[in-house]
Symmetry: C2
Subunit: 406 residues, 2 copies
């Protein structure tokens, strides 16, 4: 059994790095706050006897030796970055839970057969730099390191510059740390476990993701003197796109969602009809055929709206992550650990993307979910209970022991 | 006849202050660029023998003596501030046209019975500070000087601070310069004169304006894991409001318009459902009853949308300017001047608001319009021809001579 109070203490101690007035965390990847939590995490890993290395994209790897060092390590962990108005648990539970597993094994004097590697992946959130789960995507070869280093945030700062800015461009090449498998603990970020009174979600699959960058070019003109029929209003165009996306996602539901999270009017003024808007779109489904249908329907709707309003709309697909189907043996190991420990559980699909989804493309991977209050995440009000967090970490530990061997 | 080349030269010389790559002007009120054009204008007025004073809200008044100084001056002028992506003519033609009238009278050695006062009103555009036509509104007593001085821009800078910042908080109280009447020359900012091949618009009325500040409070949550039916999406709410406003304006048309020019998502992120949006609304009609109907229909539509989407929407009416009906005698004087000079003309309603609309509430006022290309304004591509600008300035001069007496 892990030390529930120690885990809870770590979560709340690190929540100060970027802590907000509403009880959330604002810790954008590679920011000053991210440096603070990384420094804390490195020291904690070193204090727990891990050998810590940082790769060229800033991901932190803390290795605990096994009896048989010829065996690839069992990877555990998640991420410590957050959304602009994020919570205290998303990613953090999985990373500090992994640390807690190591501390518990140390206290109990347990040696494993295979080594264990604790990982903090850079930029899981994808809020500052696209795509999300950026560093684990490069780890599995979806993108080259140079490509990722050149990605820019809204201010034009590259990943490379941001890494140098906080001193976290590591000396190890991406992929230097071989892993045999990966298990990630996370809050559910959805309402199902809580609604059904289950403690553990045994994640068997994850939604695929489509991310688009969009730009609308209408025509700026005077709000008072331009008759309604002569307008080429970029905001009215966006409004139709938002509602079309909502209708399309509902049509393909319940296994589909669509969101426009960002939209910026260029040179906004009260009495100027908006002429130009940059926006992004996020569409998801756990079913690849539905993803294709979302893409097709969305493009058709946008083309129709643009033509009718005599406005130009460009959309670029900047990221396509297919649905994830986790490894059956690891899924069974998670399920078995929950059962052995006496926690209620159910199989579940992840609505959110996770680093484990990337790792699953090159190695066996699985995930453990615990409930979060009202399914709320990506919100400062995100909440989870201490017993649930401890239960998830226990399941993580027992899964790791089963895989690594004692 | 005014000096067309000199007028054209002044317009293009001052267009450098805030001139943009696309040939427009970015000269927000009380900005560094606004100081440049104000300094230029003061010197030009002084060189033309005018006595220049600045009031407590920064408006510039240049007085040309008349034979009978007991008569109140005939006011002419407009504004030199622009939209963020504005043109070279909006306001500028009327202000530099007024200067050109003075220069022409000087050259011809013409003395008038009543004095003439050239005015550059502060913040006509209303883009940086609300409301539009702010200084002339204070001049006519719609707002107190202190109220206006405390208005803030998006960065929280007050009008008072901005005036001090460029050294244009004048020593004269608002209203110090009495005027007997006011005539304003302006580009039409709409398509009618050009379409009908008329050179002069004799403005007999102006649309009323409703300005609102709005705020939508939905709920931030995860774009991937939040099912469509559980969302309280602030952007989807705004989208319905934008389209409802468009439909309402069309329903009450052709004598009604409605625009949402500003909308800012708080803490935007690609994979976060927008939780909070601040926005503004601008509705207009030349008919007071239609203005009331616009307000009523809009509030009802917003209440329905907010209730259905379980989202809070607050709207505040921050400005209500009733429709304008200009002075019949001055309208006739403008019409007569156009006729005498041999220009084609027609009566016209102003779609935009103007300082003359404010002045009309306490003194006789009127306006002269000239065509602008494709009716485009509040756009860097705004354009007008040299002959049309000269024609309008000639009509302004002959109207002034008729009123002031030679
Ligand atoms: N788990 C999580 O919130 N990931 C962020 C990436 C995404 O799914 O949008
Ligand atoms: N003339 C003009 O563009 N005025 C700005 C104020 C407004 O009508 O919105």
């Amino acid at each position: 059994q892990i030390d529930s109070a120690r885990l809870w203490g770590s979560i709340h101690e690190t929540a100060q790095f970027g802590g907000t007035a509403k009880g959330g965390v604002r810790r954008l990847t590679l920011s000053a706050e991210d440096k603070q939590v990384r420094d804390w995490f490195r020291k904690a890993c070193e204090d727990a006897g891990l050998e810590v290395h940082v790769d060229a994209l800033g991901s932190q790897f803390g290795l605990r030796k096994g009896r048989d060092m010829s065996k690839p390590p069992v990877g555990i962990g998640s991420h410590l970055d957050t959304q602009p108005t994020g919570g205290k648990y998303d990613g953090i539970l999985g990373t500090l839970g992994a640390l807690e597993v190591i501390r518990t094994l140390n206290d109990a004097g347990i040696e494993t057969e295979a080594p264990i590697c604790v990982v903090n992946w850079t930029n899981e959130e994808g809020s500052r730099f696209a795509p999300a789960m950026m560093a684990s995507a490069a780890y599995v070869g979806d993108f080259t390191t140079d490509d990722i280093l050149s990605r820019k945030d809204a201010e034009g700062i590259t990943v490379g510059q941001a890494l140098d800015g906080i001193g976290y461009r590591g000396d190890k090449p991406v992929g230097f740390q071989k892993l045999g498998c990966f298990v990630e603990l996370h809050i559910e970020q959805g309402p199902i476990l809580e609604a059904e009174g289950k403690t553990i979600g045994v994640v068997d699959s994850g939604q695929g993701v489509l991310w688009y960058d969009g730009k609308i070019s209408g025509f700026e003109s005077h709000a008072g003197s331009t008759p309604m029929p002569l307008r080429r209003d970029a905001l009215a165009t966006l409004s139709e796109i938002v509602l079309a996306m909502e209708a399309i996602a509902k049509k393909h539901g319940p296994n589909a969602v669509g969101t426009i999270g960002e939209a910026v009017i260029a040179n906004p003024s009260r009495n100027v009809i908006p002429g130009e808007i940059a926006f992004t779109m996020d569409c998801r489904s756990a079913d690849g055929a539905i993803m294709d249908a979302l893409d097709r329907d969305l493009r058709a709707a946008i083309a129709e709206i643009a033509a009718r309003r005599k406005v130009e709309v460009k959309i670029d697909l900047v990221w396509r992550k297919p649905p994830t189907h986790f490894d059956p043996k690891l899924i069974a190991a998670v399920e078995n650990a929950a059962k052995t420990l006496g926690y209620s559980s159910r199989r579940i699909t992840s609505g959110a993307g996770h680093d484990a989804c990337n790792l699953n493309t090159v190695m066996p991977a699985a995930m453990v979910f615990v409930p979060c209050k009202d399914g709320i995440s990506h919100n400062e009000l995100e909440d989870a209970t201490q017993p649930d967090c401890a239960a998830g970490t226990n399941v993580l530990m027992h899964t790791v022991l089963a895989i690594a061997g004692v």
